[in-house]
Subunit: 332 residues, 2 copies
Amino acid sequence: MKIAAPYLLFLGDDANRHSTKMAQGLKDWVPEKCVAQFALPGNSLDVGLPEMTPALAYARGARTLVVAATNIGGFLPQAWHGALLTALEAGLDLANGMHVQLRDIPAVNAAAQRHGRQLHDVRHCDIELPVANGKDRSGKRLLMVGTDCALGKKYTALALARALQAQGRRATFRATGQTGILIAGQGIAVDAVKADFIAGAAEYLTPANDPQHWDVVEGQGSLFHPAYSGVSLGLLHGSKPHALVLCHDPTRTHISGYEDYPLSSLTDCMDFHLRAARLVNPQARFVGISLNTSKLDAATAQQLLADTAKRQQLPCVDPIRFGAQTIAAALQ
Amino acid sequence: MKIAAPYLLFLGDDANRHSTKMAQGLKDWVPEKCVAQFALPGNSLDVGLPEMTPALAYARGARTLVVAATNIGGFLPQAWHGALLTALEAGLDLANGMHVQLRDIPAVNAAAQRHGRQLHDVRHCDIELPVANGKDRSGKRLLMVGTDCALGKKYTALALARALQAQGRRATFRATGQTGILIAGQGIAVDAVKADFIAGAAEYLTPANDPQHWDVVEGQGSLFHPAYSGVSLGLLHGSKPHALVLCHDPTRTHISGYEDYPLSSLTDCMDFHLRAARLVNPQARFVGISLNTSKLDAATAQQLLADTAKRQQLPCVDPIRFGAQTIAAALQ
C-alpha cells in the first residue's frame, strides 16, 4: 500500500460523535506528512494545523485527504460524502481507516475513477492471510498491552521503537491499527481481519528476523475489554512476544464507555497476560509499565511513576512526557 | 437466511485434504434433511448416505447442494467449481460454509443468475453487527468451551439443548459455526466476522430472553489454541455465560495439528476460563464436563467418566454415547 504524502487531515462534522485520536497521532508522529486540517462547518475539533479547503491544501502540496476523525463502529456518515467528492475533484487521493470502505460508496468510487484518483481503505487487508501456525521463529518481539483501549499503546510502541533505534539497536514498529499504518506506511488493522485470522495476521506482521532484532508491536484493545478482548488475545498469541509492556491511564477507573467494568489492578492484569502469553512463549515477561500521565501535573506524575516502578519492580515511564529510555535499556 | 431443504451433501475431491466433519454433523443431527452424498471421482470420503449425482438427487427431492467438505483456510478449490455448476444446472441451490464466498466465483455467480438459483454463503454474515455493549441481559446462557477444536462442542451443545427440552425446559441451541447454522437454520459463524465484532455477534445471537430460558451456545476453538483463541475469548465475553461445559477428547495430548502445544490439564483449563468469564459474569461456573470417548471401548469410557466426575466434582458425560441428562439436570 503506497499512500501519497503529505496529507490533508479531514476532521468530519460533529464534535460530539467523533474522536481526533487519529489526526492527533499523525500530527504527533509524522508532522512532516501533515499539511493542514479540514473540518466541516460547525465542527470545533482542532489538532492545531492550519485549516484549509481541499483545493488550497492541494495547492500547498497535499496529495491525500486522510479521513482522520474516528467513531465507534467505523462508519462514514452520509454528511461526509460531499467533502470526499470535493477532495477527489481537487486532485487528492483518499485514505480511510473506518471499517466501511470508500470503494463501497458508489458516488465516491465513480468519482475516483473519473478523476483517476486512488482510494486507500487502510483498515481493509487485501492480503490472503494465513491461519497462524504457532511455530517458533527467530527475532525478538515486544508487545504493548493495556488495561483498556485508547490510553497510549501506539504512542508507547512508537516511542520504544525510536528509543531502541536511538540506542543503536535494530527495531521496527509494527502497526496493527489504522493510524499506525498511516504513520508507518504499512501494517495490518488486526481488528478488521476475519476472526479466524487475527493471530495469523500478527504472525504475518512479525516474520522471522535477525535474532537481535526487535519487532515493537502496537497493541489493540485489552484482554479485559468486553467488546474487543478477542482481538487482543489473537494479537498476543500470534505475536508470540518475548517482552510485554503494560500501558495504563492512572486516572481511569473503568473501561471507557463501559461503566459496569472497573479496571483490574496492574498486578492482576499482568498476571493474566503472562498466563495467556506463556502458552505460546514461555519466555514472555513484562519489561516495563507505561503510564499515560497527561491529566496529572509533572510532580504528581513523577511521583506516581517512581511509586509504581518500586511497587511493581519494573521500569515505569510516561514515554511522551519523560521518554521511554529506561524500558528500552531493560531490553538489553 | 432460508435454505431450501433437503440437502445433497458435496464431499469434494480429495480425501487427504478435506474433512467430513460438516457432512457427518448434518447427517447425525438432521438426517431428515440429508437425501444423499456426492463425491468427485477418486474421493473415498463417505458419511454413509447413498451416492447420487446432482440430477438424481434433485429428482429424489433435494433442493440445495451443501458444500459439506471443509479444509483449513476455508477455500473452494478450483477442482470443485465444475461440480457446483453441474448442481446449479440440475436445479439445486448452493450452500457453502467456507470463508471464500460462492458469489465471488464469477462463473458460479453467473450460472446461479442464469438458472434463477440461490447462493447461500453461511459463513458470511450480512447483518451489520454491533460492537458488544457488555450490559447485563435477562435469560440464562450456557456456553461450550474446549481444550481444543473439533472435539465435540457442537454435539454437546445440541445434545444439551435437546436434553433440556426433553425435561420440559425452555432452551434454544445457538449456532456459531457453519454446520450448526445448517442444522439450526440460523446463526452466525463467529470465526468469520470482523475481529472487532466477535463479542458483538455473540450478544446478537443471545439476546435478552425469558429469565428461565437457556441459550445453549455452540463453542468455537479454544482459549488455548494458538490460531483461534481470539474467537474463543470474544465468544466467551459476548455470550456472558452463567454456565460453562468443558469439552475434551481424553485421547488427545496436543492441540490438533500443533505439536508444540500440549493440552493443559482440565483443572488449569477451567480455572483460566473462569477467570476470563467472571470479568463479564461473576456468576459464571462450570456445570459439567463432556468427554468425547469415541476412541475408547465402553467400559473404559464409563470408568473414565466416573473418575473424572469424582476428581472434578462435576457431572461428566459423553453426550453422544450415554446422553447429557446429568448436566441438564444440574442446571436446575
